[in-house]
Amino acid sequence: MESILLRARGIPNSRDIETYLAAGGWEGFKKALTMPPEAVIQEVIDSELRGRGGAGFPTGKKWSFVPKDHPGPKYLICNADESEPGTFKDRELLEYDPQMVLEGIAIASYAIGANTAYIYIRGEFFRWARILEEAIAQAKAKGFLGKDILNSGYHLEVWVHRGAGAYICGEETALIESLEGKRGFPRLKPPFPAVVGVFGKPTVVNNVETLACLPHILTRGAKWFASIGRPKNTGPKLFCVSGHVNRPGVYELPLGVSFKEIIFEHAGGIRNGRKLKAFFPGGSSAPVLTAQEVDVLADFDSCAAAGTMLGSGGVIVMDETVNMVEVARNLAHFYAHESCGQCTPCREGSDWCLDILNRLTSGLGHPSDPDQLLRICQYASQGMTICPLGDAFSLPISSLVKKFRKEFDDAVAQAKPIPPKKLPVMPWSGKDVRFGGV
């Protein structure tokens, strides 16, 4: 496939606006300005572009929920709070082609009628926040942002807003709370952000990669975009491959290639001549797939049919030497740390899972532990929490227990006998055992 989103990778001075203009940059936005906003939305609906942040919701449809006759301001937010474990695609886009992202922001803002856009970027990305500031200054100097853009009468200001280290702020309503200057607690939906979003105004939150697709849809047409990939799963997608592969990195491929192709052809197969054991297909929040399931196609609907999700396209590959109980503990540590603490099932459930898994990996397991994990996960998912973080830890951990039950039972079998249990989940009082007590 030709390079679309990553076409600038490897080109000298790719971030410079002159390089971007020479490659036909900002033409999509110029075209959009000649169209009524409704026509831009229709074009994106026709392209069948689905959100690249994880949920895969149709982008055009999301925009169409914004009330047309709303009198006050509306906002567009670019979600660059990339923090799903295994995902590093947005950083790649910002590194090589920030102008493409800005053009996407301008197109989306015009379509929904927003005059202010915020780029919420994760706090750790100091370098990429500076890159964005510079890109905005360049675009402003050329008249693509600011007041009365290209004499169209349309205004747009874009601001970079830095987060400060909270995974949950990648969830759109938590992001909105955080942008408003508060703790990043997700909000109940409805009302959806498209109706009541940031500062109480209609707001659309789109992922960096979603926005980067827009200039291409406008210049080359919805039909062209829809011809890439598979029906209802259209367009190019950035797949981030990490873990035990020979060539980890970001690969741009049409939606609907198989994970086999991604792992073995593009990422060069498993390191050190070992065998594939399992992989997370879409970031660590997606249920794990085993080596036998490697022929599953990497698109939203195929992944859903296989009982998992494409998520953000972060493929984490594990070879045959990996112990799945260790993997579950690593993930439990992540989610227990990142749970915002609002909802009891998620706050306590993730901590209980970590307690159990810390004990299991320390040789202190109890025979009821694997089933207890499944029980906790059952009650923390299925809509028991305000946001999907409950599902985000429940689904991978329960899938690990179900698909690799033997390893969990073995951990129990090797355990020292512990005193009779007084509580369903015995608290773990030891130190974090993850890094050998470092």
């Binding site: 923090s83 474990p85 706090g123 100091f126 200057g181 990043g184 890094f435």
Partner: protein, 174 residues
């Protein structure tokens, strides 16, 4: 050497913070980006951390007064986000990613090596205040696992050899 050290003010210097004109100008510039004062919270806290090195109780009071919030509210926000230092940090904060891809690719060895070389575990500081080790969750650079962030900079595909070289360079750059 590329990574700039953090120059943290002492707690005594930050008991009663008053923003000078440079700070006031920057805050005014931030405020015009948002329709509410409260939305300037994170940018202003970042500004303070860049200026003073950490967010002391005195800084919290000053930010609260400037943005028209209670100190308790600001405290609540600061404590939610992991990147705000709530005690004076070392000159170089070694933020080792401990999430899945990095653990698969050898972050454990790096943690052990730092402990052997500097004598500090997660959450600890060297006595001379040069290094501090923090275990952080996914840094979003899994393709370059294992990843170490030092202050603002990412160091990817780390090995024990590269780590040794980096630590020596940073220590000499005092």
């Amino acid at each position: 050497m590329s990574t700039a050290p953090i120059l943290a003010k002492t707690p005594e210097e930050l008991t009663e913070v008053r923003f000078d004109q440079t700070m006031e100008e920057k805050i005014a510039e931030i405020l015009q980006r948002y329709p509410t004062k409260r939305a300037a919270m994170l940018p202003v806290l970042w500004l303070c951390q860049e200026r003073y090195g950490w967010i002391s109780p005195g800084v919290i009071e000053a930010v609260a007064a400037r943005l028209g919030e209670s100190p308790a509210f600001v405290e609540g926000v600061v404590s939610f986000y992991t990147m705000f230092h709530r005690t004076p940090p070392a000159r170089y904060v070694l933020q080792l990613c401990v999430t899945l891809s990095c653990e698969l690719c050898g972050a454990k060895t790096l943690a052990q090596h730092i402990k052997n070389r500097l004598g500090i575990g997660f959450g600890e500081k060297t006595q001379d205040g040069t290094f501090q080790l923090v275990g952080v969750e996914c840094l979003g650079a899994c393709g370059g696992a294992p990843v170490l962030q030092v202050n603002e900079d990412y160091y990817e595909n780390m090995t024990v050899e590269k780590l040794d070289k980096l630590l020596s360079e940073l220590a000499e750059g005092k």
